[in-house]
């Protein structure tokens, strides 16, 4: 994207308007990544905002490559920091994380099918997500929920392709086990046992 190159170049010279165009372009992906990682809308908004502030400060150090991966890597780090801070401060009880964050937030243009998914099954998915180890959750959110390639997930997480593969595999097995605990919510394929 030549246009993106220009926006990055202008941002590196302190052009805030150019940087905000990059924000427009990637804020949905950054916010959704944070939301699935944190399971809390307010925290996710904080993480997204924080990551764009950090990105603006650090953009002079961006040396080409995939800008989206770079931004989302900052977002992923923000969510990690926020979770760590929240846990150490105990400002957020685990209970609050588990209950309030349950339902998947409303999407502007969702089908009736998606609305059902958002309700009960959505909460179950989010609950199972939060039971995963951070790195495994990150791999699963990036690849299965956000649809990124293994390569991009590796760039975002800073891990090797092999590591991403094995994290994703473990995450999928654990998700599958977690979701089997609520068979009544699931499609037929889950009811194997």
């Amino acid at each position: 994207m030549d246009d993106e190159h220009q926006l990055i170049d202008r941002s590196q010279h302190g052009d805030l308007a150019a940087f905000n165009k990059l924000v427009d372009r990637y804020q949905t992906q950054a916010y959704n990544l944070a939301l699935r990682m944190l399971g809390d809308e307010a925290l996710a908004a904080d993480a997204a905002q924080e990551s764009f502030i950090s990105a603006y400060r650090a953009i002079k150090g961006f040396r080409g490559g995939n800008f989206r991966s770079w931004i989302l890597r900052i977002t992923a780090n923000s969510t990690r920091d926020l979770l760590r801070a929240a846990k150490s401060r105990r400002a957020l009880s685990l209970e609050a994380l588990e209950t309030d964050s349950g339902a998947l937030p409303h999407s502007s243009e969702e089908s009736p099918e998606e609305q059902v998914l958002r309700s009960e099954l959505g909460s179950e998915i989010q609950r199972c997500l939060e039971a995963l180890h951070h790195d495994q959750r990150l791999a699963l959110v990036l690849i299965d929920i956000q649809g990124f390639s293994y390569e991009e997930a590796a760039r975002i997480t800073g891990a090797s392709l092999g590591t991403v593969k094995s994290r994703l595999s473990r995450a999928r097995h654990q998700m599958r086990d977690g979701l089997r605990a609520v068979p009544e919510l699931l499609p037929d394929k889950f009811r194997l046992e």
Partner: protein, 218 residues
């Protein structure tokens, strides 16, 4: 039995990659051979496939608000500056007070000998630490941190008191010599100039120092 189970484990670890066509051709063919004769691994594969299909249907949600930056974020050093601003103010006030006490004390304890050379050297002492040491150490930069308005506070508060003390003590001393009086006045003038210079140097070097810090990455 253990061997049997372990073999399933071996293949089950590869099912996720198999779903995404991420296996090497040879390994993929071996897995497919195993799947053809193992219902347990087939079921495992289908349940994983269903899990992934479910996750892929999780909708992307709209952002609750724009995350555009309204203004330039504060430089990276800013939070540090803000955090230490209050203690630094006290430190600067204390430093200013100390300087005055030393200067006044020096003026009052040394008698007639206080002529030309001494006040200038004092002025040099007062001036040299701030601009020169500014970028070098953290300790030095802390001194510089305080805004001029604040370092001026102790000056204004202390001077009248010192002025009250000085004449009374001077009155007890049997010195009406005009030369001493002149040197004393000169000494005071030099000290005041020193304080003024520090007060002026502080904001300038602070600004310069912040500019230097700003481009640094986090």
């Amino acid at each position: 039995m253990w061997l049997f189970k372990n073999r399933h484990g071996h293949w089950q670890q590869r099912l996720s990659a198999y779903l995404d066509a991420q296996l090497e051709p040879l390994e993929r063919r071996k897995l497919e051979q195993h799947l053809a004769s193992c219902t347990s691994c087939q079921e495992e594969l289908e349940s994983l496939r269903a899990t992934v299909a479910l996750l892929q249907r999780v909708p992307q949600v709209a952002v609750p608000r724009s995350f555009r930056l309204i203004e330039e974020p504060m430089p990276v050093g800013a939070p540090w500056t803000v955090r230490y601003m209050v203690p630094l103010r006290y430190a600067a006030a204390a430093a200013g007070l100390l300087f005055l006490v030393v200067a006044v004390g020096d003026l009052m304890t040394s008698d007639g000998g206080l002529t030309g050379p001494v006040p200038p050297s004092q002025e040099q002492d007062a001036v040299s630490p701030s601009p020169a040491a500014a970028p070098v150490t953290e300790a030095a930069s802390q001194e510089i941190e305080a805004p001029s308005a604040l370092s001026a506070v102790p000056e204004e508060e202390v001077l009248p008191e010192a002025a009250r003390v000085a004449p009374s003590k001077a009155a007890t001393e049997p010195e009406g010599d005009e030369r001493t009086l002149l040197s004393r006045t000169l000494g005071w003038l030099a000290a005041a100039l020193g304080v003024l210079f520090v007060a002026l140097a502080v904001p300038v070097s602070l600004q310069w120092w912040l500019k230097r810090r700003a481009p640094l990455e986090p």
